[in-house]
Symmetry: C2
Subunit: 194 residues, 2 copies
């Protein structure tokens, strides 16, 4: 089962990188550190990831895939119900973001100075923007949402989620974020739903 063993090694390297990045930061973590934590050779590391940046991008992709899977799983009868029930995902997003926050911040920092990193950082925003734009369009088609500019309404949802996650991670005890997220979406729905 060499295929399966390769997958396990890759996963172990990713877990090790996530732990090192969280503790020491992205910049301060070397490929050697990751290899030591994972218990793999440098050869094995480079077999799976050409660079340290590649492993960061893989971690981000996994995180986004996890959110995508969650969002697809909570489809309800109508779009307003779907949007409300999506706020149940936020505690999981908060928890996963907390581990990754220092890493994200370092990457945003690099993004502000490096075009390649910037493109990788901005892609998920645009991805979620498209996702919610389509969902809101569906809501208007099914007649559950008032006529609205779906791009703008999607922007509101994404901005609200970004703002909630950022504040929730920075200030976990500043509010009951799960309740805040649900009630925030409810307020938004009062304006959007028919």
């Amino acid at each position: 089962m060499p295929q399966q063993r390769a997958e396990e090694t890759r996963g172990r390297i990713q877990d090790a990188a996530l732990r090192r990045f969280a503790v020491a930061g992205y910049d301060a973590t070397s490929v050697d550190d990751i290899c030591a934590q994972a218990g793999v050779s440098k050869g094995a590391f480079y077999h799976h990831f050409p660079t340290k940046q590649a492993i960061f991008l893989a971690l981000m992709q996994d995180w986004l895939a996890m959110i995508d899977t969650g969002m697809d799983a909570v489809r309800k009868e109508t779009v307003p119900e779907t949007l409300i029930s999506m706020t149940n995902l936020l505690p999981g997003v908060f928890a996963a973001a907390e581990d990754r926050l220092p890493m994200f911040l370092e990457f945003w920092l690099q993004a502000s100075r490096d075009e390649t990193v910037w493109k990788a950082i901005i892609a998920p925003y645009r991805h979620f923007q498209e996702f919610f734009s389509k969902l809101i369009h569906d809501g208007m088609e099914e007649g559950s949402l008032k006529p609205v500019d779906s791009q703008v309404a999607a922007q509101v949802v994404v901005s609200l989620a970004v703002g909630l996650v950022l504040q929730g991670v920075l200030d976990p005890h500043g509010a009951d974020w799960e309740k805040t997220a649900r009630e925030s979406m409810q307020i938004l729905m009062n304006g959007l739903a028919k």
Copy 2:
């Protein structure tokens, strides 16, 4: 006029620090770099600021004071009108945040590992939270807003603003952010206003 000269020196040091932080980053900028850029002695620097961190905090305070002044200046007849007209401030906030973003990101990064920095970072969120909570409470008193949990509604406004500023700074050409901000607030008001 020693008082006035002292103020000028202080301002020159702050401007120099802002420029160096934006170009090279907070961590990579030394007090020597700031003094060289400002054309002042190290003695003059330490007369005004005990540490490099103190100058960052002063820059943040100035930025917040600028936003506060702007928010007080746009009070309209009713609370919904006030909230809508506040979105006109966002382009200025975007522009000022763009210069400061790398510095903020480095500071958030430090905040995630250092309690003192964290408290300085979290204060403005709580400040704006209080401000909007009071404004929304006023709106219910004057009868222009529906009965709502003012803490939660304030959280929605702050989260939306944080999310818009972050995305606007990271992806300036991803949307017409001024229009998006105004229309986002309008959608929110559809749910909040009577």
